[in-house]
Symmetry: C2
Subunit: 212 residues, 2 copies
Amino acid sequence: MSYTSFSVENLQSMDRIPRLNLINSISGYKPANLIGTKSESGNTNLAIFSSVVHIGSNPAMLAFIMRPTTVQRHSYDNIISQKYYTINHVPADLTAEAHYASAKFKREQSEFEYCGFEEQYHDGFIAPFVKNSPVQIGLEFVEELPIKVNGTIMMIGAVKQLHVRSNILEKDHALNLDQADIATISGLNTYYRATKLAKYPYARVGQFPKAE
Amino acid sequence: MSYTSFSVENLQSMDRIPRLNLINSISGYKPANLIGTKSESGNTNLAIFSSVVHIGSNPAMLAFIMRPTTVQRHSYDNIISQKYYTINHVPADLTAEAHYASAKFKREQSEFEYCGFEEQYHDGFIAPFVKNSPVQIGLEFVEELPIKVNGTIMMIGAVKQLHVRSNILEKDHALNLDQADIATISGLNTYYRATKLAKYPYARVGQFPKAE
């Protein structure tokens, strides 16, 4: 099987767009999430992110990576000023709508309206959830960690409420994402649907994993 | 469609294992990566991670989240002492082998040998790559960012070399992960294979995305 290799010098001398396409692909499959916020003046905002990462279960915390100078600055401003935001999974049949949320809409234009999503509010939580998303997470902003080497920011939030479609909640409380029919992202703009291969028990030395 | 809701109090009062299963599932699909390292005394180590995240393309940098007190401490020690490590995608037909790498092997036991992977070395890079992995990334450790709220660590590395199977490199330099036939992970122990739904052009206001 033949390989194509890139040295750090090759990567540095590439044109910007092919380098963006390549480097955004190399981590593998990424989660497809819509982050919902509301501004001080009440405008809602929805932005697509593929950098949400688990950082802890007790207390439950998620983080995501933010570039402070992009269109996604609206999300940043809203999170900093209002402290609450939502993370919602992208249904596999709404990837065009979700991708459209990455266009540079104006601050007063809500991506909910322009991209075809409906706002939903739960239990007095001020930030808007995406209606019909199979996993809706309400978070409170905890802190931002500046990543000084390249000016990005890691935004950390604590899970305050969680709404999951009942039919995807398995007996052990894992979520069946297959059943949820959500999307996963590669690179900047390619969307995939996944199907389950295997669920393995907790791995122990001397017991080669067998699918449950 | 009926939903099951969890408040922060519900999450806090859950038993540890169901909470781990649930909270590790809520971010969506995660990348499946094997991180290869070598110790000062020459022992190789391979660990599975699902927290690799893109943080920049120029210079190309990836990060991952590390819990310092787990079996994965071997990876941490090797990265800190040797400065170089590899990130390799998990082939969809080797998920049992990859999951086995999460068992608590001893420091002197190489997961390469015990789990059924072959070491490969490129261009004088000291850390071992996973042979036949369709995407092999060689990184140099840049810095660790302590996430003080829960004691985890964000490990940041710069891409020094990259080897991708030639048949997955598209014209625009995005990688075709479908063709690569790699796995994606949900939660702690469920592995999926993905198939492409759509690739969209760069999104612009007024142009609803149409698949290429």
